[in-house]
Symmetry: C2
Subunit: 187 residues, 2 copies
């Protein structure tokens, strides 16, 4: 094989935090390539265009989220308390670590009224997010009540991510996570 400076996976990994904090439109191919240490034209070796890159970024985030969330939820060895704890750590990693909040929510609000390209992926992500919470809530609630609560929890969390960023204060997301924990454990 020829000398590999970087790989597609590496590019995706390095590009995610930038797109999350700066947004899709505000992240130029020049800026993204600089962060990867390659020429911007080299992006077109991996991706056919910018839209394609964003699509792959969202798919990567979604599959990472899904894999980890359902690994926790469907575990046979973890207690409900442990599952809640692990889920909180996962959400922290995705939504809090460094700046930028939730890349799915950010991209949704930025693009959904311009270009439906990413809509299905984003819908699918939130469907899984809600479904995951619903599964945990079903331990102590009925299926219908669990769904309604799961939707409320996702709204609470996403609103918390918004306020967290506006006020540079993690308490809003923390409070939403506490309320989610209370609902799941039925305290």
């Amino acid at each position: 094989m020829p000398k590999i400076k970087t790989s597609k996976e590496e590019v995706l990994k390095k590009v995610i935090p930038i797109l999350r904090s700066r947004g899709v439109q505000n992240s130029s191919m020049s800026e993204l390539s600089k962060a990867c240490g390659i020429q911007k034209s080299h992006f077109y070796y991996y991706f056919s265009n910018k839209e394609d890159l964003i699509r792959e970024v969202l798919a990567t985030v979604h599959s990472y989220f899904n894999y980890n969330l359902f690994k926790i939820i469907e575990s046979n060895t973890l207690s409900l308390n442990e599952k809640v704890l692990k889920m909180k750590l996962l959400l922290d990693k995705l939504f809090r670590a460094s700046d930028g909040g939730c890349i799915m929510a950010n991209t949704a609000l930025e693009t959904i009224h311009l270009d439906p390209t990413y809509k299905k992926e984003i819908q699918s992500f939130f469907k899984d997010f809600i479904l995951g919470l619903q599964r945990l809530l079903e331990v102590h609630h009925s299926t219908e009540k669990a769904l309604l609560l799961a939707e409320q929890m996702v709204q609470d969390i996403e609103g918390g991510i918004l306020l967290m960023q506006i006020y540079d204060d993690p308490k809003y997301l923390n409070n939403a996570m506490k309320r989610t924990e209370t609902a799941i454990l039925n305290l």
Copy 2:
């Protein structure tokens, strides 16, 4: 030819729905001017630059929101039930009517990690949003409990606006509004 074609107030009014649905970065001066029926160069007669235009747009939305919200809350003639109803209509008008959701949330997520220019205005808007809800909640709750609930309601509503746009379904915002009503009326 050039009589008075438009005014600063008219420009602000026409520009708001576009900025709300397409975002700040995705709305070019050309596009905005076209929607106002004037040349883009004429924008610079009213505003010193694009940033200045956005700042005035946010200030306009904020003052419109504040005037109407606190007129309802501080009324001596309206019952609590009526206040809740009127508030719901106001939030509907601001967040639901046409596409785009909440311009304050959209602008926050789009710009807050790039440019702190709009941060103070957005912070101030959400401070007033929370304060307004807190006032209504204080009828049946303690001051501290009312604040915590008000923050939760704003998070719920903003998350609901997000899901409403992602799934083209008003139920998410509707549910958040119902929960807000329940909390205020202490049902």
